[in-house]
Amino acid sequence: MRMAAPAIIALLAIGVYPLLKALNMSMRLYQITKPYLGTPFVGFENYDKVIRDPLFWQALERTAYFFILTIPVQLVLGIGIALLLDRVRWRRLAGTVRVLLVLPIAVTPTVIGLVGRLIFNRDFGFVNYLLSLIGLGPVAWLGDPGTAMFTIALTDIWQWTPFFALVMLSGLSAIPPEVLEAAQLESGRGWQIFRYVEFPYLRPGITAVLILRTADILKLFDMVFVLTRGGPGVSTELVSLYVQRVGFRVFDMGMASAQAILLLILSIVLARIYIRVFYQELEA
């Protein structure tokens, strides 16, 4: 028991104490730039303001829109890539691709944002060059509110589709070969084999990535911040960026904390679901 104490004390100090402090801050008037106001206790006033703040809801809506733009694409592409890697006869190629798929997931998101700035540049970016070859463009990928959201979504798709693919691939590799062979002899139709034999093995992985990516999108800050700073205007200001702006540029810590606590509740719900699905033995 005593062996676990240092870790638990550390987690209490860095994990629980700050959360309690955030909870406390969320119930106070706490404007760093106006120290003369003090930090009086105001109860749920901040929460009330947050819930009626249209900007907060818009940030959540943009986050949901980002989810809709990215997750279905990543899921479909991920399953496709996994099926391909599972079927291709050149096993060595499949092995190489598998290792390469890890790259986008591991690469520093900040750097991905910077590279995005380079290749999506309106004037000399590589993407617009490719478009010009087929007589299109130039597109202001980052300069136009309508397209900027697509640009950050595309970047996210580049980074996270491999994650979906690798998770799906591990689902496929759990299928006993004899089950697959029997199904191939019996039906032989690709779609039916996918639907009735392979898909059931993918389902846990799909649940896992959907929950994890929902949490990740609520967290998403660095790549978007570097690529667009939430702009133009607030067109790509996802919820994490909005809370950061209220906290560290408007310096309204009370409001920002209330917003953050609401996000925290969302993430705890997600964590609960994840545990319920994947670690049943803990629920006992």
């Binding site: 028991m1 062996m3 676990a4 240092p6 870790a7 550390a10 987690l11 860095i14 994990g15 700050p18 959360l19 402090k21 955030a22 801050m25 890697l85 079927r87 291709v88 006869r89 050149w90 190629l93 499949a94 598998r98 290792v99 390469l100 798929l101 890890v102 790259l103 997931i105 591991a106 690469v107 520093t108 900040t110 750097v111 910077l114 590279v115 995005g116 700035r117 000399f124 994650f163 998770v167 591990s170 994890l212 949490a215 609520l218 800050f221 660095d222 911040f225 570097v226 994490s240 809370v243 950061q244 906290g247 560290f248 810590m253 904390s257 996000l263 705890i268 994840y274 545990i275 803990l282």
Partner: protein
């Protein structure tokens, strides 16, 4: 008779060959898609500024290390890389030091509140960092820890400690209890059995956890952005800083990006089989 049976056979074989070629083609396109941004970053860091803006983009160019020399002369980027290295290494060591004994206890003993503790360890994977960034900022300010590497080293434990604990539990669980018990019977204390018997056996898994925790710390942006100014600024924050200046210095910026990504690529290749396990907390193996 013979030819009649052979024709469909051949066409079947040809169709399989075509399918396979198609698969290979799609995979090659995928590889290009994955590598292109990284390739573009590295080549831009080696191009003269004139070549960077060339239209059409120059695929063949005379590489130059000029941008790297600029970084070496200016020093801020190198300093930030040192900061990143110190922070990521220290927090990883600390996470392993604190996390492995805790994981051992989790794996071996049952106690009251264990599942609550467990839940809380996992939920750290889901928490939005901005929730923690606000109080951390005020706490660090009060403790005069703003703009220090120590503050980052400690704060990164919020995600590294759960990760190390989590992955190590799995490792300790597969070690048969009999091995530990043999040690205890021989008169070793629990610490000794942990340190001399179980930990060495779990080392491969612990190493994976350490590498993942290094990668995540190295890549972290939000906390470093909020909590550091100049002294303790880490490399990702320094890199993002290239854009606030008037006009972007693409060459040095891409050189910085390349330097940041280099160790990540090496480590990611080493743990490529375990990255998914780390990201899904073992739900997907």
């Amino acid at each position: 008779m013979n030819t009649a049976t052979q024709i469909p056979l051949l066409s079947h074989r040809r169709r399989r060959l075509l399918t396979n070629l198609f698969h290979v083609f799609v995979l090659v396109v995928l590889v290009v898609f994955i590598l292109l941004p990284i390739y573009w970053m590295v080549t831009t860091s080696l191009k003269t500024t004139a070549d960077t803006f060339a239209i059409p983009p120059k695929l063949l160019f005379r590489p130059t290390l000029a941008h790297y020399q600029v970084l070496a002369q200016e020093g801020v980027v190198l300093k930030s890389l040192v900061n990143s290295l110190v922070v990521a290494t220290a927090t990883t060591l600390l996470a392993v030091l604190l996390g492995t004994p805790a994981a051992y206890v989790f794996a071996r003993f049952d106690f009251r509140g264990k599942s609550d503790l467990w839940f809380w360890v996992i939920s750290n994977r889901f928490i939005t960092p901005i929730v923690m960034a606000l109080p951390f900022f005020l706490i660090a300010r009060d403790l005069k820890l703003l703009d220090t590497r120590l503050s980052l080293i400690l704060i990164y434990l919020t995600f590294n400690l759960p990760l190390v604990i989590w992955l190590s539990i799995d490792q300790f669980r597969v070690i048969p209890r009999e091995i530990d018990e043999a040690g205890l019977v021989d008169g070793a204390t629990l610490w000794q059995t942990f340190y001399k018997i179980s930990l060495p056996l779990a080392l491969p898994g612990v190493t994976v956890a350490a590498i993942l925790s290094f990668i995540f710390s190295w890549n972290e942006f939000l906390y470093a952005f909020v909590l550091t100014r100049s002294e303790a600024r880490t490399a990702p924050v320094e890199a993002a800083n290239f854009m606030t200046a008037v006009g972007t210095r693409w060459g040095p910026m891409m050189a910085t990006g390349t330097l940041i990504v280099l160790p990540v690529v090496v480590f990611a290749a080493i743990v490529s089989r375990n990255l998914i396990r780390g990201l899904t907390l073992g739900a997907v193996k």
